[in-house]
Symmetry: C2
Subunit: 332 residues, 2 copies
DNA sequence: TTCGTTTGTGTAATCGTTTGCACAACAATA
DNA sequence: TATTGTTGTGCAAACGATTACACAAACGAA
């Protein structure tokens, strides 16, 4: 009930109250273990009365399984990651797995943070952040069943991963824009160091190459609206591009606003602007962005699929590849 | 190094390797404990060599302190919560506290979820969600140092909390809009059942009352853009309001788009639209929303302040109140 | 009746730390 | 030299569960 007692009751104490041994208490809470159903019912009743719940920390120590999952992300504030995390957290919760969030943005010491999480004996690790090297992650979590990485830089490691391939979708988008008469492309990257971003850029660069074109200008932001706005202004002042491919949707919205407000250019007539991610906001009436979109639900299904295989004892490595598709808006 | 050994080395094993007892290993990792500095250095060196880190699960069991913090939120996808969570997670990480995320949206069984988290002996709980009753939270986490609730329905409980008061700011916004000649107000609520939303509505209703006005129409959404859009359309079709106060910024953006696109009404001339939260997106050039804004950083500072007092052993209850201020845009 | 099997329960070891207590070595003091 | 203090270390008992093993009771079959 609304007990205000500070201390939690232990299985040994409950055992005394129910007139059994603590082993029997434990069995009452394990779905398939040899125990009389009368005993179980009685124990569960007494447990409810005294608010007893088995201590997960103690259980984890004994089991060698914590049912904790470390989620290594860049920034929750980024809508794309937020949408994905939301979906993943729900899927984990449905499986009685609890997510521990590690946020790598800003100047936190990422390695130390991962080391800290690893001391909690997490059962799984999902790396979304491209700010940590895969090798560091593998080293630090060497004891955890091999980690899952969300993107894949090369086919180098024997690490389970979920890979995103947008090359085909990027091709379709470039075809359309070139078909509309645009020839002078710029790439507005998420970050300078991100390998994810380098891969994504390559999808579009390859598609351009098939038309005998290449990026005329480059700029680097930080995945934020403000950086998209600011870099687009600079870009459009120093070169005469008529199409900008952006590292994500939020930057694309920033770039669109910059083009419209500062340069007086409209999409798609004066300039084509393309985002990446396919976040919900891109589809809002006020944005209506053309974007290379990923099915986030399918993405997270894939992540969970790998986790479940690991749970089942099949350590893989497993690899699942997903593709991105264009979502057409009025900006390109 | 890049060891691929599955099992983690224990303090007892390391003790053998270093020629000491496991107690000494433990002391080497405790900042202020009686241990010779030569011994400590040697142990730390050997530990690094074999990749030893103390097992936090075992430590938690012994210490009765897990350094885990449960964050009970509605939805990470909601930008306002995402921004706040981001700030909070950083502050926690800086204190070597790890956040466990409980996401209450959708149809997950919130109570069971909280019970699950409570078995992990979390040191603190922060309730952001208004989908769980405070009483449930207090009951389930009765063993944890009293929980922190982000808003406060009434002065009813002896629970530490951080309270948001927007009454003054809401008054300023209403004054401005009434001064601009608007008289017919609607409230587009976040949800029907949320007590947070009821409080927020009251701030504006009280301000209207001072002008001898009241809300002429009401509608209920779910804090999403789509619900803001849809409900605004219905609202504007069935009543002749010239000002809409929305439950959050995202719905306000949806309402603004609906007014513009479906009804052909512009802000602020034809209709005033006001948001709440003060998320970054509200300030984007394409939105430029007038909103009752909260300083999220100060908010999270306050949450951490309470956590730190609890950590220091002062269980309070503590209460901190923050106020909201208008952020003027072009929609009102 | 007697033996083998099934069922339900208790005993005790284990998971990997931390920490109170005891004690040896050594330094400082009288 | 004998007497205190101070340091550094080990021993062993927690912390709160789970589970292999042992065993008694109940049951069916011969």
């Amino acid at each position: 009930m609304s007990g205000t007692n500070r201390r939690r009751i232990t299985s040994k104490e409950l055992a005394k109250l129910a007139g059994v041994s603590s082993a029997t208490i434990s069995r009452a809470f394990s779905p398939d273990s040899r125990i009389g159903s009368a005993t179980r019912d009685r124990i569960l009743a007494v447990a409810r009365e005294y608010g007893y719940q088995p201590n997960a920390i103690a259980r984890s120590l004994n089991n060698q399984r914590s049912r904790l999952v470390a989620l290594v992300v860049n920034a929750i504030g980024n809508p794309c990651e937020a949408e994905e995390q939301q979906l993943l957290v729900h899927r984990l919760q449905a499986r009685q797995l609890l997510p521990i969030l590690l946020c790598c943005a800003d100047h936190s010491d990422r390695l130390q943070l991962m080391r800290l999480a690893s001391t909690y004996q997490v059962d799984h690790v999902v790396i979304f952040s491209d700010m940590v090297s895969m090798q560091d992650a593998v080293d630090i979590f060497h004891t955890t069943r091999p980690i899952i990485v969300s993107f894949e830089p090369l086919e180098n490691e024997d690490v389970s991963n979920v890979r995103i391939d947008g090359s085909v979708g990027a091709g379709e988008i470039i075809d359309k824009i070139v078909g509309d008469g645009k020839r002078r492309f710029a790439y507005l990257a998420g970050t300078k160091s991100s390998w994810i971003d380098k891969l994504r850029r390559k999808w579009f660069a390859d598609a351009l190459a098939r038309h005998g074109l290449a990026f005329e200008a480059e700029a680097f932001g930080d995945y934020s609206y403000d950086s998209g706005f600011k870099e687009a202004v600079l870009l459009l002042h120093r070169s005469k591009v008529d199409a900008i491919i952006c590292g994500n949707d939020v930057m694309a919205i920033g770039a669109r606003d910059a083009a419209r407000r500062v340069l007086g250019k409209n999409t798609p007539e004066d300039i084509a602007i393309v985002g990446q991610d396919g976040i919900a906001m891109a589809g809002w009436d006020c944005n209506d962005l053309t974007t290379l979109s990923l099915d986030h639900a399918a993405f997270m299904d894939a992540v969970v699929e790998v986790i479940e295989r690991h749970e089942a004892g099949d350590e893989g490595p497993h690899s699942i590849t997903l593709t991105c598709t264009p979502r057409w808006g009025s900006t390109a």
